[in-house]
Symmetry: D2
Subunit: 438 residues, 4 copies
């Protein structure tokens, strides 16, 4: 179709009957649902890495996509990416983006050079943002790709790698603040172990907490008011990663007293790699008050690695949006598409199709989640299901006003036969499918 995204058509809502492949069928940005526009509810963000820098390589194959945008000099390439990215976001109607330091700025030969490159690129991006309504959702530092992090960054056995990570994170925090980001993410791709034979897990976890505390201290001293996030992932690239899943991260945050500053960035494909559904990990985050932001993507149930596909599963998106709504919606967070087109989908059009896929899927998820709430049948069932705790012995239980002795006495005098009620899973699933497909 075109060179980069420059000549691409604007993608607009045309409704479910349109056969224009470059139109939204379900995402109608300004449609109001429960008092907010769809775009306010969903806060879609572009991921810089998959969208602007990834080249389609995999472990068995060379790159299929050229991402140099006709430039050769690294800084010129980086700036061309900014131009392309803003073109893309404008055409798609996407209002947020997320980045790693190395996505937006080339590494130099020394740390100083790297730092200067980053500063220059931040200035360039900031100018680009001026006069637009495009915002930074969150920033992060890539402390996993460089060989110096082969043994981890905050959990490295090598103090110099820890120090380098700290320096990198300082600058990434500066960049995040400079660009007005409302979040800063820790994803620990190398924070874990390849084998326990060479690993001191306690030592490494203590250090990881130390690094995070220093980061909080620094950022707050610079006036950062946003959230810090940990993004759980159980494995890949490392055999075992410490931030396994939402619950594991909660154990860590509680142990090291980090709950005041940290929330979670939940990624769908990471949850499934950890043996959970996406909405399970969202629910765990929600009930513990740490549902911060979401990396929206999708795995493949037959594959054991992070496929980072664009979301297409509307039922999953609906259940996810239900959790997000129950949590009060996004404040500092949003829905970042940590998703990439398949390697054989190597054209610029495919990236557009991918984003349309993800945005239409979550638009349907939002619509359907509110329909479920309005329908009320599921909530009504759940309300009734727990009603035995509203009075009598149930009330005493939840008021912490009983004991094993009293409950034994109660049981001795109680005939519990015949009072069980069905869990009605099939009934509830029928309601869900009716709402999804009616």
């Amino acid at each position: 179709m075109n060179k980069f995204f420059k000549n691409m058509p604007e993608v607009k809502y045309e409704g479910p009957k349109s056969t224009n492949p470059f139109a939204y069928k379900f995402y109608d940005a300004d449609r109001i649902i429960d008092g907010k526009t769809m775009k306010e509810h969903l806060k879609f963000a572009m991921s810089w890495w998959h969208t602007l820098t990834a080249t389609g390589t995999d472990q068995f194959g060379d790159s299929t996509i050229d991402r140099t945008y006709d430039e050769e000099d690294p800084m010129k390439v980086a700036k061309a990416r900014v131009d392309a990215g803003f073109e893309f976001m404008k055409k798609m109607g996407i209002k947020y983006f997320c980045f790693h330091d190395v996505d937006i700025s080339p590494e130099g030969n020394t740390f100083e050079e790297t730092r200067n490159n980053l500063k220059e690129m931040v200035t360039y991006i900031k100018e680009k943002m001026t006069g637009t309504d495009i915002k930074l959702l969150w920033g992060t530092a890539n402390c996993f790709g460089n060989p110096r992090y082969m043994h981890g960054a905050g959990t490295s056995c090598r103090a110099d790698s820890f120090a380098y990570a700290a320096a990198q994170i300082k600058n990434a925090i500066d960049a995040t603040i400079e660009l007005g980001g409302t979040g800063y993410v820790f994803w620990g791709g190398r924070e874990g172990y390849e084998t326990l034979l060479n690993t001191r897990m306690d030592f490494e976890l203590d250090n990881m907490a130390r690094l995070m505390k220093m980061a909080v201290k620094y950022a707050r001293s610079k006036g950062f008011k946003g959230d810090f996030y940990i993004e759980p992932k159980p494995k890949e690239p490392t055999k075992h990663q410490y931030d396994y899943d939402a619950s594991t991260v909660l154990a860590f945050l509680r142990k090291y007293d980090l709950l005041g500053d940290f929330k979670l960035n939940i990624e769908a494909n990471h949850a499934t790699l950890a043996g959970h559904t996406f909405n399970h990990d969202l629910a765990v985050a929600r009930i513990n008050g740490v549902l911060g932001s979401v990396d929206a993507n999708q795995g493949d149930h037959q594959l054991g690695w992070d496929t980072d596909q664009f979301p297409t599963d509307v039922k999953e998106a609906t259940l996810a949006m239900l959790e997000i709504i129950k949590a009060g919606g996004f404040t500092n967070g949003g829905l970042n598409f940590d998703a990439k087109v398949r390697r054989p989908s190597f054209t610029y059009e495919d990236i557009i199709y991918g984003y349309i896929s993800g945005m239409d899927t979550f638009a349907l998820g939002l619509i359907k989640a509110y329909e479920i709430i309005e329908d009320g049948r599921i909530d009504e069932f759940v309300e009734s299901r727990y009603s035995s705790y509203n009075e009598g012995i149930g009330k005493k239980i939840i008021e912490d006003n009983t004991s094993l002795e009293e409950l034994e006495e109660y049981t001795l005098n109680n005939n519990d036969e015949g009072k069980l009620e069905s869990g009605r899973q099939e009934y509830l699933e029928n309601i869900l499918n009716q709402i999804l497909y009616r």
Copy 2:
């Protein structure tokens, strides 16, 4: 060979060359290792359920094993099981056992009858223990088998089921105390959900904590000095179980301030179902000070359910024993064989073979773990691996005496090229295999 275990041979240590299938090849109970006998190190326990009551059914097949011991009346069957169990333990040289209330005592038509049955059986077992050196390792209540627990026990949506569980647990605690048990276990087979559509996860977890607090309060008031354990398992029978793995349980114990009374009972096959190695979950428990007891068994890497096989993997047992040794060995806990013979291994001899398998495997594990420690090469490598934290910037990091700013400054002045060292996984694995097979 025999009727029950009565006429079976005593199983004794005959060494690695013996071809007597009813002899230990590696478990030499009184051999002293590092100042303690093997039996003191290992504290092997018989699981009442798999050994004395299970009948070999599976989801697709009828029972292959008769466990009525020529009796018909439920209480007579229960007493015959006690007789058989003590015969078995004596012949095998096993000094501990573990039980659920319903393993040792039949359920009656009313709770009162059930309670009385349990008391009678406890008296019978206590008499049987007199004059022997056989002890109760831990007791527990089965709050998952009866239909009343279809929606959970402590997490049930139905207050009467919660109350019934509380009453059952009270009596199981009484039984545990009466029999001198040093531990009480919570395994939450139904404490979880089948579908989030009908579930209030926060409500249910709050209630689970309430039940545990009441249990602690009651047991302590009765003088119980032992440990409470939670046994993590991620799923099966329930789709998702709240006690997913060691880290998840730690998050729970910290949230509800239960760390003072609770430790973990780690089961090998449960760890692997949760996506971990056995020694990973042991290590997580150890570094958090909650490695209490162990359910020794083994899963099948190709199967997605709890196969509860007798341990045969000596490398895994060695790595497990290394963690247990590092944790200081067992105090109140021990190695319970939560393991069963395969369904087509339906004879009494097979149970003996199974226990020999497990005991010889862990005996080797103990021997090899100490050989690794004495060999010293692995520890030496690890010591050296982290040595950059012994001085300079590394020392400042672990003394909480630096900041992002200082670390940036350090990095600016530091040339980190060329100083990376290999993780040496292959070298370490070679040492491990050499020790295992030399």
Copy 3:
């Protein structure tokens, strides 16, 4: 609601807006699609076992459902089940059923008694069928539940078990013929191994083929014109089952020259346990001309065993129906619901909800599959994608009219740069979702 199914309401189509939980929202039996009614396309069948005999037990819990229908004598229970089953099918508008011998008839103390029971029950069922349009889809023999099959049936190491299975199969074939069944199924739940240490795989597979050949010979001699099916499953209850998946069964059928009489009965949850999507295994069967019948159900992506849930995934059902339509639709086969309600869904109403779930899901699958075909965009893309084989070197390749030498020569003279086209997965997925949700 009622005692058994007797007083249950008739379940009828009321359309997608109905809030009557006992109505079909999408299955409109007599609606014509592409010249055939929905009920002719779908050929829904009731599974006798899950619907009429299963009691809700699992490996950790007792039965939650009473299936004795107020009777005690086994033959009276069996007849009450027939009555209940026909009530159920009539009320639901289901026109087919499937059974194992032991589902419809109790085992006696001797083989002769068992055989006589079966004959009596077949007579009873046949009378019941008279005057209805309810038909037998297929029959089978349960050669896995009884302890005699602990080592397999056709693959048993014990000749008497092989002989018993043969005798059982003979009678199950007789019953199938007597009741007008158009298919006979082999599901080899114990045809496999627990450990290769005690197994002769070649010997066992040879014997399995022998048993099948005898079965074909016998049935054809009795005038059976229907299809034989093998139902693949990779594991559970046995560690490894020989009929792993569709491709494995094809290797077997080809090796033993059984392709003339055998097709496959593909089950969704078995395909996923083998690492495939449901439609993958259907496609494998289709392109090899052996797509015979379908066991419609659904697994749980987080669980490693056969959960046999009622289908709710409309996308999966749509892709399945596309394969079935491409295969020319069902002839002797149909859609059997090898599905059960969850254990906590223990009421009769829940069974109805379960069947509504499965039937509405596949009704949507049928509707959407035809919409995809009519829409034409996906087929058009695929047609074009392979068009390079319509002429030139491509044509020579598919006409077996070239060689490595010629293809090298061609390549030497060909510049293949720039001519690659995207696979357009995201574009095609968007079309699919548009059709599913518009």
Copy 4:
């Protein structure tokens, strides 16, 4: 230690007590077992790709290993690799190697250039082989890495890609013949699909068979007497690969009548990714007469991708060697280490440790497999287990001399109670462990 492998020590057998990390503890090349030396039994091969060209990248990290051997020009690098490889094989005492075309020779700007490069490199390698006893085990063509194969090679939707693959394979076959290789491998990393939505599976499989037939025809016309191998793998990089596992490939070879020329190259980690044990897939190959060659490596049971680790599991190696011995040992095939050091094991020493690990593990496997055979207890048990087929009705069954009718008659007159015998899995596992650890 050294620059490349030039100054590395020769690795020799020093026995199980040696603490020299650069010595074999168990692999004693000239030790005779059952009339053949260990090196003749095992036929270890070096994989060119992992050993000489791979740089330690993964999907989240840059290369950790420099493989340019101080050269810049691609042909000079390639030659330096040959030098390094032969140094390595000599020092390790490895007598075979395996390669892809692109491992040994850089791709040029045109196919002609690529072809010329390959010819030049083959000449260079051939000279290097002169006067050594180092041989080529097998060759293959990399038809998966280049973007032109993004949709497959033999199964590509694009005829030009098929043609290119054919041309590449022709030259790889020429190279294999020129270097005296006894095998030619097809591994279909892209022969499969990313989505069935855009795929004609039947068309693609027909084409794959066409390509193989052309390859056989060509190679035979050039005098190639070796074996063709298909190497099964279920997935990765492609979502589904057609050569899923040994059984799937057998179905394919039978369908397209390729059994005369093709055998299997079984890889451990590919078998486990397909849900099997390594020795299962070896057994399937063996009983079908197609056990050709082996890619010896090891996966990680917690990871869902091909980790290609060096073998360390002695039990697995023992069971594998038992299958290989039962198949009559290797003829044209051997044990190729398709294995790589972990990314943080980035030094040349680590590669040596890795090979020592694999070679010692398989040496132990060979020794232990023969000990099992000599011990005889397992074989004796299995012999006895199937003995009911040696006479009576069992004999009639395996002589194809009975029928369902006769077997029913037999069963009616037979009382099968009480004659079942245990499968004795635990007993057999104890023998296995005794032999492994005595």
